[in-house]
Amino acid sequence: MNWLAHEMRLVLRSRLSACALLLLLLLSALAVWSGMREVERQRQTIARLAPLHEQDVAALAARYPDSKDAGNPAYYTFYNTWDPPSAAAFLALGLRDVAPYVLRIRALGLQAQLYEGETFNPEVALPGRFDFAFVLIYLAPLFAIALLHDLVSGERQTGRLRLLLAMPDAGRLWRRRAGLRYALLFLCLAVPACVGAALSGTGIVATGIVLAVTAACLAFWTGLSLLVATLHWRSVTNATVLMGAWAVLTLVLPALANVALIRAIPVHQGVDLMLAQRQVVHGAWELPREETMRKFVASHPEWKDHTAVPRRFHWKWYFAFHQVGDESVAGAARDYRGGLLARQAWTGRLGWLLPGVGAQAVLHRLAGTDLPAQLAYQDAIAAFHRQIRTFYYPYLFNDRPFGTADFARQPGFVPRVPDGMPGRDGLAALLALFVLAGAVQLAGLWRLGRLRM
């Protein structure tokens, strides 16, 4: 272990390297802390809203103590839904800053409520959040480059290279040096992440995967740095080439891919479906009511004997045409989702080639903060919406009165619990990341072993 102490001294004696490592440790700690603070804030927000919502319902129950039917309560009662952050969310906040994680819905047409936006400052969201994923994907490669780009050329420029290469088994020396730097970088990232995971109650498996992603990301960038470092260039050239590679891999190619993706898979059905839904819902006022009711019982046969609607306004017809409006755009809604998922799938495939995109895909999948997680929340809302509707239908269709006691019987939202697993897509992305990083790392190490003057 003597060599370790010696090499460690070498690393730390270089003030620049020591500063760089300290800075990386600081930045990743700051990112973990900032992520945890944000997650805590989101938890508090969710907790704050529950009593507010209950007061709202209580006020409504007081306003409509005894209704002849459930129409008014059904129309005016909002239900709260929420998407609690997962235990790993602090690592990668993802879409949670721009997509709502709390949403109120009511028994009316869901498609007009589901895409409601959240209040957020777009100028704040534009550059992205400062979280662990950002430090790992954008900043850590820069530190790897700084520490490793002159591993060989530095020795050449000071004239020690010939001596080092003449030593028996010089390859091992290089591998030790590279390995030590790799380990130090890894520790700077892993320690804050592990502390954060322990404090947040992130599962062992999830934490293990985060560490694996971190290791793979660093392996890719140290491997690439070694590959360049073993070429017979000057330190400055190495740094230039590596930084160029970093800019292309983490800034230029993802941005280009995004342009390509937006063009290849146009997603404008969202607006189409909203316009179409409105036409159907509002057009219902002009249609014969029997026609609307016929459409409604086609999907709700249990009410086929209760479709008679009086000439004047009746709530069951009102809620029926809202439901028919939703059903009329079900296909468009499916297409819209399909388009979003297709974009997501292609992003995942891109991650097989670009380590930054791959790492981002895995981390955000694990944290449950990506597009599929957002869609899962929408699914949970849709299921809850179905529950709410079917709660009111017996009152409306059987003309049953709705009293104060019935308010207490209203369904409550049960949030989905993220399992902290990467899922099949995540595993595929992880595997691809490992293969890519492993290949580059091995190539770098192999070149180190064959280093000649």
């Binding site: 100028e123 704040v124 941005a255 993706l261 997603v267 316009l275 979003l340 974009r343």
Partner: protein
């Protein structure tokens, strides 16, 4: 006597100019002998062209699509059948935010905001269907646009190929030779600045061409295009100065590169993310959920505007009765139910506006915190300048929402007025009667026309950020001038 002196000074100026030009020429020759520098500038040019083309195409397609949707929504509104005007109040309208012509240069927050606004009675909705929720997380890596290329990549190029400008002379010993031969240190630095400035100009050229193209093709106002050009010229000049300055102060080219890359990473990558994050924590935004509950509570306290007998409107009723000199609402010459609707809409709109303004004010306070850090990272100042000039910042988004709200209010009150004037009160309160007015009324409403902010207003918004950039330039320029005078002495 003075003529002789003048001639001498003139000759000296020409000589100085010659020396500076020669140094710049030599530096250029060195730069272009470096194949990497040529490849770098070529790559940047290609990227810029790709970015300009795709951003332009994206803007054009988005604008055409939104215009098409707007036409469709207008048509659907006008094509509604004869019906009760209050049904139209609930049917509502859609407006779409047109894309600013210069958004092709810097789309700013365009991808992060909704661009579809549903307008209806008794409610203010959020703008929905922004790109950010529809494009996976890839958008967060940055959008390939001319602004991105100039903001992020061009400084990196200047760092790579300029860091050794002076350091190289010092390392190889030529600096001492040059100074000994009578070249003034300031001349040397000016020459290097000129050369690197020329290099930056090459990087800027395609962007300027793109800007001219966008201005011609999209009919963007020229002053704004010029402001953008000036802003980015200043930004690159800032880096030229910074690069040469560091190259002057540091002993070795290698150290200069490290210092400059660190500065770049902090200024361009780290601070622009970290500062907004901090601002977001300093000023908390309430969720739409909370606002909705609070608004609804106050809204209910205003009374039910669908119910003409709601006690909340008693004072309004009494005032009206007195105004017309009658004792019963049935005797009013106008439809009281419609008037209650108008009064309710007026009060509720005030309420909504108050909440919307409060939310926007909080966001603007966050923006002010971010702007204050322009002193620490000129990248923030540049981004502010760029987004404001391109009309893709929060202020112009707010303006769209406020114009949409004004349009909504005029539309809803217009429909209520039709109810007031065209429907008799007795008919209107009879629930068994089918009250309808002619569909011709729907066509009377003007279409929504988005008005971009006047150029002068935009320029005023741009000014503070431009001031920060100018101060940075002045500070770095002064520093470079002072240190250049002592080049022979520093870091020998």
């Amino acid at each position: 006597m003075s003529a002789v002196l003048g001639a001498a000074t003139g000759a000296a100026t020409v000589a100085t100019r010659n020396v500076i030009a020669r140094i710049a020429r030599e530096e250029w020759r060195a730069l272009f002998r470096d194949r990497a520098a040529v490849a770098g500038i070529a790559l940047l040019t290609v990227l810029m062209l790709v970015a300009a083309l795709t951003a332009h195409e994206h803007r054009r397609a988005a604008d055409a699509e939104r215009a098409r949707y707007q036409a469709q929504a207008n048509h659907e509104f006008e094509a509604q059948p004869d019906r009760h005007p209050h049904r139209m109040v609930h049917y509502g309208h859609f407006v779409f935010r047109p894309v600013n012509p210069l958004a092709a240069f810097d789309p700013g927050i365009d991808g992060f905001t909704g661009n579809t606004l549903f307008l209806e009675g008794h409610r203010q909705n959020s703008a929905n269907f922004g790109d950010v929720r529809q494009t996976s997380l890839l958008l967060r890596f940055g959008q390939l646009t001319p602004a991105f290329v100039l903001q992020v990549l061009a400084p990196l190029l200047l760092v790579f190929f300029g860091h050794a400008a002076v350091a190289r002379e010092r390392e190889s010993g030529t600096l001492r030779v040059l100074l000994a031969q009578g070249v003034r240190s300031r001349q040397l630095v000016l020459g290097k600045l000129l050369a690197l400035g020329g290099f930056a100009g090459l990087a800027l050229l395609p962007a300027l061409a793109a800007l001219v193209w966008f201005a011609l093709d999209g009919h963007a106002p020229w002053p704004l295009a010029v402001a953008l050009a000036a802003g980015y010229t200043g930004w690159l000049l800032l880096w030229v100065l910074g690069v040469v300055l560091v190259s002057m102060c540091v002993a070795r080219g290698r150290d200069a590169l490290l210092v400059l890359l660190t500065a770049w990473a902090v200024i361009v990558i780290l601070l622009p993310r970290w500062v907004p994050d901090m601002a977001n924590h300093a000023v908390a935004l309430p969720t739409r959920f909370e606002d909705a509950i609070h608004v609804q509570r106050e809204y209910l306290a205003l009374g039910d505007s669908h119910n003409p007998n709601d006690p909340a409107f008693a004072a309004f009723r009494d005032r009206l009765l007195k105004q017309y000199g009658v004792t019963r609402i049935e005797d009013l010459p106008v439809n009281f139910k419609g008037l209650v609707g108008m009064e309710g809409e007026r009060k509720s709109s005030e309420l909504f506006d108050r909440y919307a303004a409060a939310a926007f004010d909080r966001q603007e306070r966050q923006g002010e915190i971010i702007d204050a850090f322009g002193w620490a990272s000129p990248a923030l100042a540049l981004r502010r300048l760029s987004m404001a000039a391109a009309g893709t910042d929060l202020a112009s988004y707010r303006s769209f929402l406020e114009q949409g709200e004004r349009y909504r209010y005029a539309l809803i009150q217009g429909l209520n007025r039709i109810q007031v004037e065209r429907l008799a009160y007795a008919d209107d309160i009879d629930r068994n009667k089918d009250n309808r007015v002619s569909r011709d009324h729907w066509r009377e409403f003007p279409e929504f026309q988005y008005e971009a902010a006047p150029v002068a207003t935009t320029l005023r918004r741009v000014a503070p950020a431009a001031g920060v950039l100018a101060l940075w330039l002045a500070a770095l320029g002064t520093l470079a001038w002072v240190l250049a005078g002592r080049l022979g002495r520093i870091a020998r």
